[in-house]
């Protein structure tokens, strides 16, 4: 919850307990069964299903005003004129903001956030203005009437992977963007079976159930003491750390002058990990109308250019194998669209470096800078894209070589991480593949185009899954004992994953109490700094800090703490963990039906089998990996954006035209977690499960389409149009 605030606008140190805290003081501390590893219902579920959990836009405010973003309608050029006369005349309008008169930003901590500082337009959908008004309707109407004239420059918005301006990324995920092992051309020459294919997808867009929204309040205590100024953002995000790192300096504030709260988040998926430019607009507006709060909620259409996306990419894969299917060479070159404003590269080839054994390998990340909005994280960035390519290519190789796809993967299982030679902390890919094959009935699979059910062609497909450890830094957590309850405090965030629920379980076990005696105070500043909910790392990373804090608390205060007792603990990755290659593994199996009449693709069932360390809460874990598979199904079958080169915009940029999966698209989904304990991620033996459901699922579906129809689809999504033209 929001930190309370005194008359000077200072944030208090005492926690405001979450609304969902429902303590039962009758429950006593004492010997008990561990909570970790058992089902626990989501503590925030009743609030969410009754619509009473307050999301960003819903916090009570007094006398707020509203700001409406104005987006550029050209892809590149210069603003040469602004006519705000009609906009300013709309009743209720307080102020029209443009680059000509917006408050200056200070430190360019993030080029994507540098808005309203000059007349240059770098992409279609850039925030080039804003209207502050008493009502959102008036702000929107005035925004419609605000006229910009441009000197338009030629723009380029389409990914041409073979174009002259493509460059190789030097560093990706803190590793070389390009690497070569052995002699790939020699390995290609040695191949008895070969695949040479290109896999593509258009940009994919975030569609969280809760669109990005914020309430910004600027408290200027005294013009003589600027250090007392505070900005409060009631936001929807994955954690406040990036806001403090990037937004605060941009706005000329010290990190502690920015208070961020985000108690409940209606989906994030990477799209709320970093601050996006609408937060800058809201903050500038709040500064102007201080101390009135400013509300801003993006429309779905605006989200297609303001909050980032998964960049379009083209993945060229070459595989060569000997007669037994052992890989003699693997090559994976990813070419990705990037923004000229801010170039972020998805690590699409990284899984290829470590998944399978081969003496010869080349992987390379290439980018083409375009006049498009910046991309951002979108669930399993890189791994989603790269594993679609690699795992489809392996299916092609299996078909060419006449080897079962599961068996082909087993034959190429490496002893150590092929990229760096490190031993595996744990790697149970083969067990996942074999257990999945057994559970799914893989032996029922027939040759392509053999199974039918009326007009429907039926096929089975599979793919491997992987997700790496992303834990790098040491962070802290604090335990506070108050009102008979243990409060877990850190800047974590529950983005719908169940963090409120599982962090309480972890703390309960470490403290030796019932989880109902533990409440979480997360999703705000004013608590110990922690990493964002990202990289599938939250539970093990935050969990480490929480365990350290609980242990510190018991050491300091014993079993009978006094009211107000507290202790802070710090923890990072386990010492020595760098000596190991640390990843979660899995296998996905899919059955699809493809209509021979309409070319519609419908998924009949999906299975994910994972070896992902200790499962803290099987109930929320199952839900999370199912969510990953569903999001991947959506991306594989439906999500296709069309960027119109004439205008530079996503022409089908709303949820009626850019399709995300509906309930009717989602088949029965089966999940199994194999027993595993990996001590090298964190204290509880768990690994990350937030994204692995996304990885390989598109390939499993595409491979199933091939098995059903004999048609190989190498571009996402697998629509009737794509089937008809294959």
């Amino acid at each position: 919850m929001t930190a309370t605030r005194d008359a000077q606008g200072r944030s208090s140190e005492s926690p405001v307990l979450p609304l969902h805290a429902a303590p039962d003081p009758q429950r006593s501390a004492g010997p008990r069964e561990p909570s970790v590893g058992t089902d626990r219902r989501r503590v925030d579920a009743p609030l969410k299903v009754t619509g009473t959990a307050p999301y960003a836009y819903e916090h009570p405010t007094t006398n707020p005003c509203h700001v409406w973003p104005v987006l550029s309608t050209i892809a590149r050029g210069t603003i040469i004129g602004v006519d705000a006369s009609r906009a300013a005349a709309v009743p209720g309008v307080i102020r029209v903001l443009t680059h000509a008169d917006a408050p200056r930003l200070r430190v360019k901590a993030d080029a994507g956030l540098w808005i309203l500082q000059g007349p240059e337009v770098h992409h279609r959908g850039q925030i080039i203005g804003g209207v502050i008004a008493d009502t959102p309707e008036a702000a929107r109407e005035a925004a419609e009437l605000l006229v910009f004239t441009y000197d338009e420059a030629p723009s380029k918005v389409e990914l041409d992977p073979d174009g002259p301006d493509v460059t190789t990324a030097k560093v990706v995920l803190m590793r070389p963007g390009s690497e070569t092992k052995g002699d790939p051309e020699q390995g290609w020459g040695e191949g008895v079976h070969r695949v040479d294919a290109t896999y593509e997808h258009t940009a994919q867009y975030h569609a969280q159930m809760e669109p990005h929204a914020v309430i910004a309040t600027w408290h200027e205590v005294s013009p003589l003491d600027v250090r007392a100024t505070r900005l409060t953002l009631q936001d929807s995000n994955q954690g406040p750390l990036p806001h403090r790192l990037l937004l605060a300096p941009l706005l000329g504030l010290l990190p502690h002058q920015l208070d961020v709260s985000s108690p409940y988040v209606g989906g994030a998926f990477g799209g709320k990990a970093f601050p996006h430019p609408h937060l800058v607009l809201a903050s500038l507006a709040a500064k102007i109308v201080s101390p009135r709060p400013v509300k801003l909620a993006l429309t779905r259409q605006q989200m297609f250019s303001v909050v980032g996306h998964r960049a379009a990419s083209s993945q060229h894969v070459r595989l060569a194998a000997d007669a037994e299917g052992r890989l003699t060479m693997v090559e994976h070159v990813s070419t990705q669209a990037a923004s000229r404003v801010k170039n972020s590269v998805d690590h699409s080839c990284m899984s290829t470096r470590m998944m399978y054994a081969t003496p010869n390998r080349h992987t390379e990340h290439r980018v083409l800078e375009l006049d498009v909005p910046p991309s951002t994280w979108m669930r399993a960035p890189g791994d989603f894209t790269g594993m679609f390519a690699l795992e489809t290519a392996l299916d092609e190789l299996a078909h060419t070589a006449g080897i079962d796809p599961v068996d082909l993967r087993v034959r190429n299982e490496p002893d150590v991480d092929p990229e760096n030679g490190k031993p595996w902390s744990t790697r149970a890919l083969v067990a996942c593949l074999q257990r999945g094959a057994e559970r799914f009935g893989w032996d029922e699979r027939q040759a392509p185009g053999q199974r039918r059910d009326g007009e429907w062609q039926i096929g089975l497909g599979m793919a491997s899954a992987v997700f790496p450890n992303m834990h790098m830094v040491t962070f802290a957590a604090k335990i506070l004992f108050t009102g008979g309850r243990y409060v877990v405090q850190l800047q974590a965030s529950d983005i719908g994953t169940g963090a409120h629920t599982v962090l309480a379980q972890i703390a309960a076990d470490a403290l030796g109490v019932d989880p109902d005696l533990v409440v979480t105070d997360i999703g705000r500043t004013g608590t110990p700094m922690a990493m964002v909910a990202g990289g599938s790392s939250g539970t093990y990373e935050w969990g480490n800090s929480v365990v350290a804090a609980c242990e510190a608390f018991r050491r300091k205060h014993g079993l009978h703490p006094a009211e107000g007792a507290s202790a802070t603990g710090r923890s990072g990755p386990p010492k020595g963990s760098n000596k190991y290659s640390r990843n979660a593994f899995g296998a996905h199996f899919a059955e699809v039906a493809v209509s021979s009449v309409t070319d519609e693709v419908r998924v009949r069932r999906l299975l994910g089998v994972y070896a992902a360390g200790t499962i803290i809460n099987p109930r929320t874990a199952r839900s999370q990996v199912m969510g990953g598979m569903i999001m991947a199904l959506s991306g594989a079958l439906l999500e296709e954006s069309y960027r119109d080169p004439r205008f530079g915009h996503i022409a089908n940029g709303d949820l009626a035209s850019y399709h995300v999966a509906a309930h009717a698209d989602v088949p029965p989904i089966d999940v199994e977690f194999l027993p595993e304990h990996d001590p090298w991620f964190g204290a509880k033996g768990s690994k990350g499960i937030g994204e692995i459901g996304m990885v390989g699922t598109p390939a499993a579906l595409g491979n199933a389409v091939f098995n059903a129809t004999g048609k190989r689809l190498r571009s996402l999504p697998f629509t009737p149009s794509a089937l008809a033209e294959a």
Binding site: T73, P91, E137, A138, R140, E141, E144, Q301, E455, S596, V597, T598, D599, E600, R602, L637, L638, Y642, D644, R646, F647, H649, A651, N652, G653, D654, A656, S657, H659, A661, A662, H663, A664, D665, P717, T719, P720, S721, A724, E725
Partner: protein, 334 residues
């Protein structure tokens, strides 16, 4: 969004008086609002006054003496889809309704409003791009743009938009009648003449005159339409507009098609009645080959663009499958 006045007339006469000369830049009729409210937000519709017709009593679903149905304009899509008489006499109308939108939208959307849905062409819905339908003379962005949902049949150089309604496809097949009341009194418009092709005036979706209000839709008796089918093809399994759709009813005697009604959705600026196919099929044996020849006769008029050529084959196969399904089941009857 533009500020507007809201009026709730108590009668049709009062509504017509409020509408005045019916300039749609000044007034707009509101029923379910499932399309209009979006357009108010997007700035596509900018009326000064909304005239709310949703509380006027235009009657429910009534069986007419000759075996047809009269459907009041304010009957909600969900209620109409569930109407027992409709499901018995004209099942494909119910199927079409249930294939459209979502449960929430169907509970709001009205029968009259469904007929007046505007195109979902992405350029029409985006005020920052040229569109002749939204802004006559500005040009058609869809011609050389995102074209998956462009019209196959009856488009013009000024507009390639398609009509998005599912309900209207079987209504076209059934020769429904649209009853309207305007300043000049009441009139009945045959369904085929209700919607229009874009020609050089794509801003006009229908032949409704200024201020006219739809009061009812009448379906005339067609006993053999009790065997009818609506099939909708789409990327997403629900809650998506049609790539193409087929509404069909067939009357077969001794293996010969004695009569047929066929209409296609997602292909034209209006719900497309496939008269060439019907003419080709009447008197022919009820066989897949005859069905294919019939739909091919219709699809001679198709003019696919770069993104929608796949729909020609899709329409052919879907039509043949629907007609085959209808006639096979007929043959299986004792």
């Amino acid at each position: 969004m533009k500020a507007f006045a809201y009026a709730r007339p108590g009668s049709i006469a009062e509504a017509l008086e409020l509408a005045g000369d019916g300039d749609d830049t000044q007034t707009a009729y509101l029923a379910g609002g499932t399309n209009l409210v979006d357009h108010l937000r997007l700035g596509i519709a900018r009326p000064d006054t909304l005239i709310d017709l949703s509380r006027l009593d235009f009657g429910g679903v009534e069986e007419t003496a000759d075996g047809g149905l009269r459907i009041g304009a304010n009957v909600r899509n969900a209620d109409l889809a569930a109407d027992p008489a409709l499901r018995r006499r004209f099942p494909f109308v119910s199927e079409a309704l249930l294939a459209g939108a979502s449960g929430q939208l169907r509970s709001m959307a009205s029968t009259g409003g469904n007929l007046l849905q505007r195109t979902r062409c992405v350029y029409f819905q985006d005020r920052s791009t040229p569109c002749n339908k939204r802004e006559p003379g500005s040009g058609c962005s869809a011609l050389d743009g995102y074209g998956t949902y462009n019209a196959l049949i009856g488009a013009s150089e000024h507009c390639v938009a398609v009509h998005p309604s599912d309900l209207c496809v079987p209504l076209a097949a059934l020769d429904a009648i649209v009853h309207v009341t305007g300043p000049g009194g009441e009139r009945a418009i045959p369904f085929d003449q209700f919607h229009r092709l874009p020609g050089d005036a794509p801003e006009r979706d229908t032949t409704l005159e200024a201020s006219e209000i739809i009061t009812a839709v009448e379906i005339l008796a067609l006993p053999w339409a009790s065997r009818s089918r609506y099939r909708k093809v789409r990327d997403r399994a629900s809650y998506a507009f049609a790539l193409v759709s087929v509404a069909a009813a067939v009357d077969v005697a001794d293996g010969v098609v004695t009569d047929v009604r066929l209409a296609l959705g997602g292909v034209s600026h209006k719900p497309h009645r496939a008269r060439a196919a019907e003419d080709a099929l009447r008197g022919q044996p009820a066989t897949p080959a005859a069905f294919e020849a019939a739909i091919d006769a219709e699809l001679e008029a198709a003019r696919p663009g770069k993104d929608n050529a796949f729909k020609v084959g899709q329409l052919r196969r879907t039509t043949v499958a629907v007609l085959t399904e209808l006639t096979q089941t007929e043959g299986d009857r004792p």
